[in-house]
């Protein structure tokens, strides 16, 4: 470089030297501003009284935590969250695996069926909840009528208002939306299993269920871990379908943790207590993430 350096050259040389940091800076700053800073800010909220029904922000120590811990609805909602996410993810996994096995070989119309099966993934959970509410709701929905015709006696289930049917309704909506998620990932895993494994096994007289048990499942292992991990981490957020379908009801019967914290903060306006509850929920989720992601990284051969 024999030409005299102009100011522009210096600038472009500087930007070239710090190229890699300049590229990440905007995204990192944005995440810091809207995720890390709010979390830090909320640490202050934890120990004061931030409540729209009470003026001022006086220091209250640990009262926000003790109030949430003493609230039976908080414990119930955590139990509902654990129960529903376990049932949802288990059913979605089994159904998704069955569908993936059914779709792994090529047949006529496979492409079309593939496109149809993934449709629920692109619909807002609010609309999914709305659609199932329409289908199940008494007396408008056709579900009770169809069941009455099939079973031969009058069925009058309040699907959205009676336990345990309200839980079954929530599970139906979740399974409807997220089974395709499991299906798509497991299908990708199945397609990646080298076919010569099966050919070799067939020569040894191993086929059918035994081939599934000794070849398919172990080969699919890391992918199963991945699909279940991702799904659990989303399943524990459960909120939208409850908001639309049961409104948490009857009473507080179908409160999930997210729904409980939402009502605590935004319909009762106890924002500090809700923040304290949200932090406890965050810690539980973080433990879950650490545990699951560790196992995931161990299972992954790469």
């Amino acid at each position: 470089m024999s030409a005299p350096a102009t100011r522009f050259d210096t600038l472009s040389e500087w930007s070239d030297r710090h190229f890699k940091w300049l590229l990440v800076a905007p995204a990192v700053l944005l995440i810091l501003a809207l995720s890390v800073y709010p979390l830090l800010f909320s640490v202050w909220v934890l120990f004061v009284n931030y409540d729209f029904t009470v003026p001022g922000h006086g220091f209250v120590g640990l009262r926000n935590f003790t109030r949430v811990l003493a609230d039976p609805v908080a414990r119930w909602s955590l139990w509902v969250t654990v129960l529903l996410s376990t049932i949802n993810v288990a059913i979605e996994f089994l159904l998704g695996l069955a569908l993936a096995l059914a779709m792994v070989k090529n047949f006529r119309g496979r492409g079309l069926i593939m496109s149809l099966l993934i449709i629920p993934l692109f619909i807002s959970p609010v609309i999914v909840g709305q659609a199932w509410a329409l289908l199940l709701q008494r007396p408008f929905g056709p579900t009770n009528y169809v069941l009455s015709q099939i079973l031969g006696f009058e069925v009058t289930i309040g699907w959205l208002t009676q336990a345990p049917w309200n839980f079954i309704a929530l599970v139906l909506a979740d399974v409807w939306q997220w089974t395709p998620f499991m299906f798509v990932i497991l299908l990708a895993g199945l397609t990646a299993i080298p076919p010569n494994l099966y050919e070799a096994a067939e020569l040894d007289g191993v086929d059918g269920w035994r081939a599934f048990w000794w070849i398919t499942l172990p080969q699919l292992g890391p992918m199963i871990m991945l699909a279940i991990t991702f799904r659990i981490l989303d399943a524990v957020r459960l909120f939208d379908t409850i908001f639309v379908m049961t409104g948490g009801g009857p009473g507080t019967n179908t409160y999930s943790s997210s729904f409980y914290l939402y009502t605590l903060g935004f319909t009762q306006f106890h924002l500090s207590e809700a923040t304290a509850g949200a932090w406890m929920f965050l810690v539980i989720t973080a433990i879950l993430i650490t545990f699951l992601v560790r196992r995931l990284l161990k299972a992954e051969p790469t």
Partner: protein
């Protein structure tokens, strides 16, 4: 391979797929029928499976009387702007992570961890901060929130994409006297375009279908399409048609986009961990 068409495996497969397709389409069909069904047919026994006189009344009511059109316009503006921001910033960051290993594993995993934070933990303080700085119920506020909320997926999708893209062409450009910026802008970005488009589509769908942030961070001005459904809750049955009509308006665009991008679906769902 001379197995017949009616093997047990074939029958099982047909039954399973048949039942599951029925399960998938029953709610969608009933919702569509409800959206074009005159209100008088709502409570008929047996149920009206197809209305004799379809009506578009619910669509006009949902769009105009219930401000569905305003929600639709807001959704388009907010989703498009957030998608653009998230795609541009996410692609730049992913390029740096993939080519220079910027910040080592820590930075990339920190971004990934953002994807799994429970929204309720973030949204409470954001709500308080937004009220304090005047971003509550503004388009800008929700655009920024959605950009941050879609960034982890965009970054990780593009991270995986750049890593499996050979860097020899970019290196050749550098040897030919291009600056780093030129090799990014003229070589890497055009080559990565299919991946960038796919990442943008998934970011758009995520914003388009999002409910929780919109519920808390907006009210009368910047409300998005999914939040309009609040108006139909709790009124036993009076607005079934309107709710269904609005749902149809909302789900058609995202389904079309999703099916167009389905080749990239596996990468999108697993944040690039699995190549479809």
């Amino acid at each position: 391979m001379t197995k017949g068409l009616f093997t047990r495996a074939n029958i099982a497969r047909t039954l399973l797929l048949g039942f599951f397709l029925l399960f998938t389409f029953a709610p969608l069909y009933w919702m569509f029928i409800t959206s074009i069904k005159p209100s008088d047919d709502y409570l008929a026994v047996p149920p009206v499976w197809f209305p004799a006189e379809p009506t578009m009344l619910h669509y006009t009511a949902a769009l105009f009387a219930y401000r569905g059109l305003d929600g639709l316009i807001n959704s388009v503006i907010i989703s498009a702007a957030a998608t653009l921001l998230s795609t541009v910033l996410g692609t730049l960051m992913a390029y740096s992570l993939a080519r220079f290993n910027t910040g080592g594993q820590h930075l990339s995993f920190w971004v990934l961890s953002q994807r799994f934070l429970p929204p309720i933990a973030i949204v409470l303080p954001i709500f308080l901060i937004y009220r304090a700085v005047g971003l509550h119920d503004t388009h800008l506020g929700l655009i920024i929130a959605y950009t941050v909320f879609t960034l982890p997926v965009t970054v990780w999708m593009m991270f995986a994409y750049f890593r499996q893209m050979p860097k020899s062409l970019e290196e050749a450009a550098l040897v030919d006297g291009c600056t780093r910026w030129q090799s990014l802008w003229r070589v890497a970005i055009p080559l990565a375009m299919p991946g960038i488009v796919a990442a943008a589509v998934f970011a758009f769908i995520a914003c388009w279908t999002e409910f929780f942030f919109a519920l808390i961070l907006t009210s009368q001005t910047a409300f998005t399409l999914p939040t309009v459904f609040r108006a139909f809750l709790g009124f036993q049955g009076a607005q079934y048609g309107e709710a269904s009509a609005l749902a149809m308006v909302s789900l058609v665009p995202s389904i079309i986009l999703g099916i167009l991008a389905q080749r990239h679906l596996v990468r999108g769902l697993t944040l690039g961990a699995v190549r479809g």
